[in-house]
């Protein structure tokens, strides 16, 4: 296997503004010198990498501290993560799926219970983020971040009060071709369901079809279906409106002052991403060490500071600036959370399948006006080519005869 350059930037450490202290250095040196390595599979831009000046290189610090090598790779959607795990080829030791995916994985035995003796730092996790619906016993997961879904929009072009903004902005014809939309069915359907007033976890085929109809209506004015491309597109001002996760939205806002982010008052989805260990993991203890390391206050703070999501980690929360802690975007008041937000749960296979096929159908549907022509023209072209070929052959044969 490949070697990562060992001397991971001595200078960086000196200039690092954030410094690292861990509670129990001995715990982390158990595997030193054993040449272990763990495979961490995470969302893109979901950890502090030290690329920006003055931030911690979390994986680098972990390697330095424990001597365990970290193979770090990224995925873009829960479904991609699921596909990789389900496919069975890749062996990961730490993954960070979202709520509904966690319950699906628990059901399919894709992740294994944790040994919380090895994760003493679990104690930092706030009470209201323990024993969540997706993992009622809290046997499988350690929450990493949470957040809400809201709308990012360009204030220079959209002159609306924050209060007035709701999900229907995404269906507003005035902003045709300036709207981005989630490129995964669960989040996209959730928005449509919120519009329709359905439950976010509905399994009723009728309701799903109604939501899909909504989405199809929207397709005409959608510029593109994106996930992480949102950073780039909104940052560069290529689009005016996009729904996205609160934490990422704040990151984007840092780059482009014209943007604003609101959580629509009519309600939203509250998501929780949590660290788990797949059943196929071969380095469970090392993985648990990694999870514990992620829950070190300094590390948790470094991460949360970098990725801007909301943290369920009490110590990290306390270290945040006053301004952030008060922010209604990152930490909405508990009433709103209780009344207006819903956490995804895993849907039944039938509902999943239904949603999946409705989604593909919606995405592959043509704009009505072009659809009429392409197929016939194509067929006619095929026929012409065929006829041409046959005639050519015929002529050739005839020539050969006389």
């Amino acid at each position: 296997a490949s070697e990562v350059p060992e001397e991971a930037d001595e200078e960086e450490e000196v200039s690092a503004a954030q410094t690292l202290t861990v509670s129990d250095p001995d715990y982390y040196t158990r595997f030193k010198g054993q040449n272990l390595s763990i495979n961490v599979y995470n969302w893109g831009e979901y950890i502090s990498t030290g690329a920006d000046e003055g931030t911690l290189d979390v994986n680098g610090e972990f390697e330095k501290l424990t001597g365990i090598k970290v193979n770090y790779t990224n995925y873009a959607t829960n479904e991609e993560l699921y596909a990789k795990l389900k496919g069975g080829g890749a062996a990961y030791d730490v993954i960070i799926p979202s709520d509904y995916m966690i319950s699906k994985m628990i059901k399919e035995n894709l992740i294994q219970p944790l040994d919380f003796d090895n994760i003493p730092n679990f104690s930092y996790i706030m009470d209201n983020f323990r024993n969540m619906a997706y993992d009622p016993e809290n046997a499988y997961t350690v929450p990493y971040t949470w957040g809400t879904v809201g709308i990012i929009y360009d204030t220079t072009m959209i002159d609306l009060d924050e209060e007035d903004i709701d999900w229907d902005l995404l269906w507003n014809e005035d902003y045709a071709d300036q709207i981005l939309m989630f490129d995964n069915p669960r989040d996209a359907f959730a928005i449509a369901e919120l519009m329709e007033g359905f439950s976010l976890n509905t399994e009723d085929p009728k309701e799903l079809e109604q939501a899909a109809f909504r989405l199809r209506q929207q397709k005409r004015i959608v510029q593109g279906y994106v996930m992480d491309e949102v950073f780039d597109k909104m940052g560069a001002g290529d689009a005016l409106i996009a729904p996205y996760y609160a934490g990422d939205a704040l990151t984007i806002l840092e780059d482009n002052e014209d943007l604003n982010f609101v959580v629509p008052k009519s309600g939203t989805n509250l998501f929780i991403d949590a660290m788990c260990i797949p059943s196929s993991s071969r380095q469970k203890e090392a993985a648990e060490m990694y999870i514990n390391f992620m829950c070190e206050p300094d590390i948790a703070y470094a991460n949360i500071d970098y990725i801007c999501y909301s943290t369920p980690h009490q110590a990290a929360y306390d270290m945040l600036d006053e301004e952030v802690r008060e922010s209604p975007v990152s930490y909405p008041d508990s009433d709103f959370i209780a009344d207006k937000t819903t956490v995804f749960v895993n849907l039944s296979d039938e509902a999943n399948l239904k949603m999946q096929s409705l989604w593909t159908e919606m995405k592959s549907a043509e704009d009505e006006n072009t659809n009429k022509w392409i197929a016939p023209v194509f067929l006619v072209a095929c026929v012409f080519i065929m006829v041409f070929v046959l005639i050519r052959r015929h002529i050739k044969n005839k020539k050969d005869i006389f």
Binding site: E79, A83, G224, D232, G237, D238, Q356, N371, I374, I385
Partner: protein, 268 residues
Amino acid sequence: MKLKYFSAPYLVWMVVFILVPLLMIAYFAFTNDEGGLTIKYISDVGQYANIFVRSIWLALIATVICLVVAYPVAFILSRMDKHRQGTMLMIVMLPMWMNFLLRTYAWMTLLGNNGIINHLFGLIGLGPFKLINTSGAVVLGMVYNYLPFMILPLYSVMEKIDGSLFEAASDLGCSSGKTLWRVVVPLSMPGITSGVTMVFVPAISTFIISRMLGGGSNLLIGDLIEMQFLGNAYNPHLGAAISLVLMVIILVIMTVMNQFDPDDQVLM
């Protein structure tokens, strides 16, 4: 001669890593999760007919544009001085050596609503136009990425055409237009067919270009397959079925193409 046996390791490799995987596709396409035989997935492919049609259509347009653009380039190249040809060819081919993701990304920055092209239009008081996330952008991406695949085979065929044939044609009464139609085009037919396949096949199966320049709203066959294996719609059986159909389509198209090839010579 025992030289024959030199190829034994490769033959094993070939069977295990070329032949068997293709059979795996067929196997997956015709079985379900429990391993039972089914044609459900193959028949399911039917519901994506419009994606197939669109993919073929866009790939076809891209191929035709490539052909039209590349033909004069190849011709001009092939008639240059021998020593300048090499340099010029290198200059034309050089972009192909850049990672194609980066090149496609470059177009993203050019075509964006706030991109350079719209910026320039803005300077003269036009636009902004919707350039990115359209079928046109996807076709542009295909043309840009695969143009060299068209130029190269055309060039290598044309370069071999003896210049005296042009003189002979003109001697026998052809004006330059007639020479082009009656001599150059028929003689470059093998280059045209191999160029067309070399552009068409990657174009029809791309998923990067449609994702980066088509904004995810212009699904192509490639996207569909990718979705089944690593994307939102995890379903390897359906993915295998789509791949199988794609292979058959390409096979049919290549057979048709070969009809145009006078001597069945396929150059790579």
